[in-house]
């Protein structure tokens, strides 16, 4: 994980209303965190707003785990900078 991770963790935990300790890198959004498609879209929108980035649909479609969320956000924040 990286410097951005704590902020991502806080946002994801608040948005999904889950205990931050459940946000392990391998935690699967669907199976482990019970994120349905609408929650996933909302989470994407919130992350885009918070980090002022645009997450392409095709990349979001590949996100499976909390670790993937951190990776894709980090990548786009770095690209923006």
């Amino acid at each position: 994980m990286n410097d951005l991770e704590p902020k991502v963790r806080g946002i994801v935990a608040a948005q999904l209303d889950v205990d931050p300790q459940r946000l392990l890198p391998g935690a699967r959004l669907g199976e482990d965190l019970c994120v349905d498609s609408l929650s996933a879209i909302e989470l994407t929108m919130v992350l885009e707003d918070e980090f002022d980035i645009a997450l392409p649909e095709e990349e979001v479609a590949e996100v499976r785990t909390y670790g993937d969320v951190v990776t894709v956000v980090t990548h786009h924040v770095a690209k923006r900078a």
């Binding site: 209303d17 889950v18 019970c34 609408l38 929650s39 909302e42 929108m45 649909e57």
Partner: protein
């Protein structure tokens, strides 16, 4: 078909559910005769564009005739139930019409549910044969076994519904009666078990005609069917109206916003009917705009409100789009009221006026009429109201009296007859267009050995309208956490029903009469979540 709107005075009075109701005159009475008329009048027009292929109305009639004969040959007799678990496509359309043609009852199993829910529906409906797409077969076989069906009764759909064609025989095979039940749709229920709302030809045809006339649909129209066809909207608001006018239905398996916008453009869709939560997602796709999509003329939705900001954004991006807000229930076969495009500004927040064939009342707890502007329960009467719940006379008697359907929704009607929904059924949560019944979920939660009490309710959600929240009290000497609660539900219900917000508490507050104080719980949770987000922002 003429598209001039009906007025109540141009309708004819007929008896339905023991009451006089206004009906459309000279109508096609059943969905089978609607197919007959289409296959006769415009056999070469394209009826369906599906992943399995495109078919004309003439070809669709032949498929329906062949499949109906095959079902009869398989031993099904009039009144038998055929269950299907199918994504939108050719198979499910043929299944619905073949059941109607053969006098069978179509039982739609939601593809989003889990085997225990399917098992209940199979048992309750008494289905004797089940078809499913391959991805659902493991769960369907388990559900079938649980429901006591022989293994051979649960089959991969393969080409069972599209493999045989016979020349359409028109009225050489007797048409059904307009008051026959040709399907059931499970609506979940306030008693903890789903209720099977009966789908009746008379009701479907009145709703379909209402859509044709209100939206001025013509043979040039093409609609994208996103709503699952095992529910009411897809086949009643889209496929059947298209059949009446000779238009085309394009079936869609799954909505990914960008791909869907591309489909809308590539398939030259003119009529969109989607859940309210989809509009903001479509607006996020830059290509969803005029004039690229100038062919999209009708934008309809229902089930929950669309925020004013979204309507305003649609007006800017798609200025030519005519918007309609249709209010109805499964029990009304889709619409009972419709807010017209021209009325959005003047009657913001309303779901429109009743259809010409519908009557509405606002009543108090004793069933007495309330004055104009007063809030009470909305009752609806008309030829679109279901004849009842399959196999559940008590629920039917409680829900329908003298032809009036008790919606359970809190509403008021203004002095011009516009209906304003103030609160959806207290025990129902609307998540993106899907319905979650809190009582059903509470029953499931307390069936967990470690949960003693549960209270389920909805809280506002900016995209999905509502999120599911659950408060649970652990059984004595037991512990439980949010993850376990979610996993318990996820294994047994659809993903949209899994509580997003779970709180494990010592007690659930109740009123002096023992009723759970859900409003207080809702207020507490909303405040807590807002505080969390605020703390995060600072």
């Amino acid at each position: 078909m003429p598209s001039a709107p009906h007025t109540p005075s141009s309708l004819v009075v007929e008896r339905w559910l023991g009451a006089d109701v206004r009906c459309y005159p000279d109508r096609i009475p059943t969905i089978v005769e609607a197919l007959d008329a289409a296959a006769t009048s415009f056999p070469d027009r394209l009826a369906l564009e599906t992943p399995e292929g495109d078919v004309t109305y003439g070809e669709l009639a032949e498929l329906v005739e062949g499949t109906a004969a095959q079902l009869v040959a398989a031993g099904l007799v009039r009144g038998d139930r055929l269950a299907v678990c199918l994504r939108n496509g050719l198979d499910i359309v043929v299944a619905i019409w073949a059941c109607a043609r053969a006098g069978l009852v179509f039982v739609g199993l939601s593809t989003r549910l889990q085997p225990p829910q399917w098992a209940y529906m199979l048992r309750h409906s008494g289905a004797t044969l089940v078809f499913g797409h391959p991805e659902f077969m493991d769960g369907l076989r388990a559900a079938g076994a649980d429901a006591g069906l022989a293994p051979g009764a649960v089959r991969d759909v393969a080409d069972n519904l599209t493999g045989r064609r016979l020349p359409w025989r028109g009225d050489a095979v007797p048409f059904p009666d307009q008051d026959d039940v040709y399907g059931v749709i499970y609506t979940s229920g306030t008693t903890g078990r789903p209720k099977a709302s009966q789908v009746v030809h008379r009701c479907t045809m009145h709703s379909a005609i209402a859509y044709v006339r209100t939206f001025s649909l013509t043979a040039d129209d093409r609609t994208a069917v996103v709503f699952p066809l095992y529910y009411a909207t897809g086949h009643i608001a889209q496929v059947t109206p298209m059949m009446l006018v000779g238009g085309t239905s394009v079936t869609v398996h799954e909505v990914v916003p960008r791909e869907f916008v591309q489909l809308i453009g590539a398939r030259r869709i003119t009529y969109l009917m989607v859940v309210p939560s989809l509009w903001p997602l479509l607006l996020r796709v830059p290509e969803f705009r005029w004039p690229d999509l100038a062919h999209v003329e009708i934008g309809a939705f229902g089930g929950s409100p669309v925020p004013i900001s979204t309507v305003a954004a649609l007006r800017t991006r798609m200025p030519h789009l005519r918007l309609y807000d249709a209010y109805g229930l499964t029990e009304t076969h889709s619409p009972a009221t419709i807010l017209l495009d021209s009325e959005f500004r003047r009657k913001s927040g309303s779901v429109g006026r009743p259809l010409p064939c519908a009557d509405v009342r606002i009543v108090d707890d004793s069933g007495a009429d309330l004055a104009v502007g007063e809030a009470g329960e909305l009752w609806i009467r008309g030829p679109m109201v279901t004849s009842g719940y399959y196999g559940d006379p008590d629920a039917t008697a409680a829900a329908i009296t003298d032809g009036w359907l008790h919606t359970g929704d809190l509403a008021r009607v203004d002095d011009e007859g516009y209906v304003f929904i103030l609160d959806r059924t207290k025990d129902m949560i609307t998540r993106g267009g899907f319905k979650v019944y809190s009582v059903e979920l509470e029953y499931l939660l307390v069936s967990h050995p470690d949960i003693a009490e549960a209270a389920v309710f909805g809280i506002p959600d900016r995209l999905a309208y509502e999120s599911v929240a659950a408060y649970v009290v652990p059984a004595m000497t037991r512990t439980i956490d949010a993850g376990l609660v979610q996993a318990w539900v996820a294994a047994r219900m659809a993903d949209y029903a899994v509580p997003r917000h779970v709180r494990v508490v010592d007690t659930i507050p109740r009123s002096r009469t023992g009723k759970v104080e859900k409003a207080a719980l809702r207020d507490t949770l909303v405040a807590e979540l807002a505080a969390t987000k605020e703390a995060l922002a600072t």
